[in-house]
Symmetry: D2
Amino acid sequence: MPDAHSGAASLRTVQQLFAATTRVQRMLDAEAALARAQAALGIIPASAAEAIEGAAKVERFDVQALLNAIPTEGNLAIPLVRALTSAVARVSAEAASFVHWGATSQDVIDTGLVLQLREALAIVLADLARADVAAAGLARRYAATPMAARTWLQQATPTTFGLKAAGWLDALLRIGDRLQEAADGVAVLQFGAASGTLAAFGSRGVALSSKLGRELDLCVPDLPWHAHRDRLGSLAGALGVACGTLGKIARDISLLSQTEVQEATEHAPGGSSAMPHKRNPVMAARALAASVRAPGLVATLLAAMPQEHERALGGWQAEWDTLPALVIATADAAEAVAEALEHLDVHPDAMNRNLELTGGLIMAEPVVLALAGHVGRSPARALVDAAVERAAGQRRPFRDVLAEDPDIARWLDRNALETLLRPESYLGAAADFVARVLAAADARRGERRRAD
Amino acid sequence: MPDAHSGAASLRTVQQLFAATTRVQRMLDAEAALARAQAALGIIPASAAEAIEGAAKVERFDVQALLNAIPTEGNLAIPLVRALTSAVARVSAEAASFVHWGATSQDVIDTGLVLQLREALAIVLADLARADVAAAGLARRYAATPMAARTWLQQATPTTFGLKAAGWLDALLRIGDRLQEAADGVAVLQFGAASGTLAAFGSRGVALSSKLGRELDLCVPDLPWHAHRDRLGSLAGALGVACGTLGKIARDISLLSQTEVQEATEHAPGGSSAMPHKRNPVMAARALAASVRAPGLVATLLAAMPQEHERALGGWQAEWDTLPALVIATADAAEAVAEALEHLDVHPDAMNRNLELTGGLIMAEPVVLALAGHVGRSPARALVDAAVERAAGQRRPFRDVLAEDPDIARWLDRNALETLLRPESYLGAAADFVARVLAAADARRGERRRAD
Amino acid sequence: MPDAHSGAASLRTVQQLFAATTRVQRMLDAEAALARAQAALGIIPASAAEAIEGAAKVERFDVQALLNAIPTEGNLAIPLVRALTSAVARVSAEAASFVHWGATSQDVIDTGLVLQLREALAIVLADLARADVAAAGLARRYAATPMAARTWLQQATPTTFGLKAAGWLDALLRIGDRLQEAADGVAVLQFGAASGTLAAFGSRGVALSSKLGRELDLCVPDLPWHAHRDRLGSLAGALGVACGTLGKIARDISLLSQTEVQEATEHAPGGSSAMPHKRNPVMAARALAASVRAPGLVATLLAAMPQEHERALGGWQAEWDTLPALVIATADAAEAVAEALEHLDVHPDAMNRNLELTGGLIMAEPVVLALAGHVGRSPARALVDAAVERAAGQRRPFRDVLAEDPDIARWLDRNALETLLRPESYLGAAADFVARVLAAADARRGERRRAD
Amino acid sequence: MPDAHSGAASLRTVQQLFAATTRVQRMLDAEAALARAQAALGIIPASAAEAIEGAAKVERFDVQALLNAIPTEGNLAIPLVRALTSAVARVSAEAASFVHWGATSQDVIDTGLVLQLREALAIVLADLARADVAAAGLARRYAATPMAARTWLQQATPTTFGLKAAGWLDALLRIGDRLQEAADGVAVLQFGAASGTLAAFGSRGVALSSKLGRELDLCVPDLPWHAHRDRLGSLAGALGVACGTLGKIARDISLLSQTEVQEATEHAPGGSSAMPHKRNPVMAARALAASVRAPGLVATLLAAMPQEHERALGGWQAEWDTLPALVIATADAAEAVAEALEHLDVHPDAMNRNLELTGGLIMAEPVVLALAGHVGRSPARALVDAAVERAAGQRRPFRDVLAEDPDIARWLDRNALETLLRPESYLGAAADFVARVLAAADARRGERRRAD
């Protein structure tokens, strides 16, 4: 990855992994492995396997012509097997007759896909891990930095930026775990031949299957899964959830970086062709765009699942462009969020300034709670509601309005009010929550290291 | 279209219309037209417009490099405008300073898209018209050919193949009309500059806009529509509905062509790499795959609609790959259904054979109705229910079982039963319906001809 | 509608229109109309029609028991027809035998649905019209009120609140027109009997169909549309686009009403159980929630379209809960946006304050354009870029930084800069655009009035 | 479950679990548990907790009035807390002031939801387990029953019904495991108060949280998850995948039960109001309808995930009707497939009859393979292609046509051809695959038993 610093290296790599050239090569890899496995079991001659392997290089094929044949032939394997057979025949007519021996198109297409997915998901997972580390850094550094929590896009009561980052981290850990699990779940060989019985191999089907799985370092399933797509559906679900969480983080960043908020901003924003002052949160936009696209792509993959009998008519074909698009979108989002979090400019001064924007009104809840201890909750709420009304109407500091009300001042003097109105005094378990998530993240990293 | 006979010519053309090269060229077309319009109004020098137009050829640009810049710069227009400016500067430094004058990235990207859509949708509409004609031919030819109607995939009572084809035609006419309307609805200029005010042009914005619309032969909207995507959403809806109807027709064809049914089959089915006897309904699969994909793609475009203020952060970007994918899927489905219907092999003998499969049971309803006139509906239904039970249990012809029952035979003799059990005698308004739809199709074609 | 002022009257009415009770009543209305039409044509006795009509009152049925039968019987019509037959039989055994005569379950279910839709869509359209009027009022009143346009959630250059409201209005007019068209498009009778041939009526099917259409004031289609759902799909598309636009308006309102922005706020916001100061934009949330839900619901209706042969197995059934949910969501959004716009508190002072937030930086574009006339665009952009950098870094007013730069001051003196930096001076065609949209809205209202 | 034999008992129970009454009761349960936990920690008086618990019975509330308040108040908790406070106040004014103490609306709504989900998912999982057992029974019983495999809805080569059932079982096991995991994943307390800090409880927030978790037997998360919905998103994904697999099984059943195929039929099909002979696969339709609906519902839940800051504006609200609809749809599908599989009528005679439908053509592949050993694959394929063509064209038995061709007969005599054309001789690893899946199912059941 020579251009690792460009901020789009992962995306570019994943795009290439799903480009037509790589797709054809992975199918050729499956054909070559099949020939090797068959030779190892004495099903075809070793020389045939060598000839097939030698010809199975994408450079030798007209990829565009192969793609063009899909709509009339029905899939990419039919023209590819024909072309591979011709290529092998140029070396050995006998070997040519063993190309794709006993297999079916879907065996090659699905196994090729699974190989592509393995490479691509590793990259996505690595970017999620980068995002984890960055979020943990923010949670730790800003564990005690107060800022306004916002509910319904209205300032609520205070929180800390550390707690917000810990929330991101907590979710990132979960989506990483689930995506790893789903990735493991799809690293499964497809090999069943025409009807899923491996009929051409008589009693040797199971042994051949095992050998082929070892050749490709893929798990061998209990039976072929041609029309059962739940593993891919589960991967789709995990990718969709990952995009949702990445979109949530990106939405937070985009809101924090508004001109009127400016509490956290991307370090390397995008510019405008016309407006010199623009600082566009480009990384957030990448992740948000992915989170808009993912649900529809997941829906397509789920809708494609009820496939007819032993091979689908429509459902399988609908997956071909959809699953790559979903993986690419997730790679885009994961890299963008990793980039944004690693280089986030955090502005505690702006957080402070915004905390004061309401003149203290966002601290109304603790005043109610304190007062309730003296007069009961309903009367307390009524007193504070009236004070909020006056303060907002007259645009005066909340503390002054509170202090003027004898029914309040009777229980809470200026000093008590000062304390109640300090955001730092009303953070509850924020620090505990941050500590718990950081500990969990450390434990998770330990586990992952041991798993490697 | 040299390969018009291949059955995938339209698909290939539409794919090329949305390839990166065409996309960039249409954006360059928009830049060139902008310069011409500005020169015509004296906003920039005529020589600058000429220089810009001269440089606005996609062959001069490194398209892959432009694409690679999107994830970090935010969109395709920013690097393209920069590259175009450099290209123009090589001819004239002064002209270079008028490239993209007063415009914003979205003006160029959206207007380029609209130009792509216009070309692509014309091809889809032409294929829908081919499908119309083919369906009308089938409806006319087979207006009196009885076949089993199937509800819940169970044989119901008889219908005609002509009525089935008329149902396809009726729906094809509607989706064609709606898609034409939606296509007209998106042929609209995007031009508003940074904030949608055309601020750089002072009082000349409206005039410039009109001129630019004329240059590109696009409708000029009442105001720029940067963050209002309802026109594209409506197009998406029309495309989604078109795919749904095309999928319905394809589903019918795929079911009719089952080995066990064989009532209608594609004339040029696909083969199998392993099984010499296979006749795969490849055209039906193309349309069905599109109908599985379209709903998710439409959902994405609708989900992208609530765009923030004057320019979206995520929603607009989510459209870029999605709308082309949806148009391409629809083009695929429209061409595949046109191909399938134009070359459908219809087998009335198989229809007859299948009508007899239940030994007359599918004619149970008219027996109930005839009997009801004599004994009331409930007793009639009870008598026929019992006869159905016996006929099915003993696998005997329904007519024999009916004739044996004295409570039935009393009202319906062998002759009457023979008549009641003939599918041709129970087709009701089928021929009327076919005639009505064919008349409507003729009228529609007349209108369209006048509209041209 | 006694509680019209509650802000949820339309929603409640539409919910009731799709409640089980109304659903059953509309199906009973279809049965009664069928009997009347058949009696008018002499197909059944007039006395039977009277008895059927007399029994066709939902109060007489155990609606919950009917609903409970759906999962095992397959649809709501089967148990309902049985129950209706029993009810009629209690009056006249003869009449009972003419209940549902010659019809099929789907005839009654679809026709009942179409009757429900007609009522419900009229309410949605009325709320969209309310929103139109409110948006037009805002566009007119605030046509000259400057505010910051925001792209990527960053302040761009100035616009007016009137132009923003005109953008809302422009889109509202389009979604209203399209929804009216789609509503007209689904007001279509379903009547085809078991296989869509009206076989039981021999040559009288067409006449009976016409009579039944007149009874229910529904359009009579060229042929029954049991498995062709494109009309409903088009309605779904129009509803989805409506929700998208309503969500866009709601998103704008929610962003404008942020604590840190406060440029426009709902007049009757929601409160919090704990925080006295909260002013939650509840109407915006209703519309945004609908815009999140609609895409998935539309996708379901499109995915349900490829229905098998003459009656679907899964697809039709998938519509039953989905289309009502989509209409209700749209009704919710339309009413919420109408409420929000009718009572929007607009704060021009906050708009002004926010325009000054960047110390003039958002006026960088006009400075570039003015300077470009003297030094060419690239040098102008470089000079202004540097000034932006300095102003932002030193947190000083942009005008001061510009005035200090001799390469700028040489061409633009303090006076010229003052003028360039005034938002009001850089609004371009904003007022023209507002005027055009208002004129279009007036014309539309004229048309609609004439159409009534 | 008194009506367990009706085939819709689970569906009905799950519908009731998500009815408004249960929803309100679960929220009241959360309020009561909160009061108990606070009393246990001395935060509120024990007498207050008792009064609150005593009042927290849904029968005491006007549920419809509470629902009606949602659109204007923003959520169900606000009116419910108010009503609960009034109810408690009727017993004790002091206790009333401790209702919902320190909590926020979302705490109660989400925790109530989680309690509903726990009950409902247990029912879905039980039905999936029923389906497992039934599929295993079919796989075992029919492990050696040959039938035609079908790819693209065309007969391919033979398989066994046991292998088809084993494929269903294999997928059912996986969706059961994943749904169990997702169900465990959402059994998590929501408790964070206004901003997710539990600020009102000072340093006791963590302890109170733990206590509350124990009260409700829910897992206590590392931090509140108000705006992080990935757990629900993962559940949605698992439900969507479950519906996809259930839909696949149902699609197979619906295709097998076609009038023209009749290889397996539902034991208790639905009838028709008009046609005595109809045997509608109602259970298959239920599952297929769910599989059409689920993708759109999942998409909505994923689209709702990017929620703003500490509480969403639109996204959270979009979940309220959507997640229940998805769980209910899955319950519907799971029960329907369990019912269909437990009572499936399998017709090996029809399987045999259909295997002979092509006159032996579906055995073309093994003939090619056998011949290839003698003449090489390409010549073998050419010879067999020609024979297929002749047999199909002349409608003659494949064996006769093969035997007539001297280039074939030279290598394969009548006897060899007879053997090659017997479906039983070309089943490959089918029996091995069935055995493997049955062993895996046994192991899984063992594990589950140990886990209980």
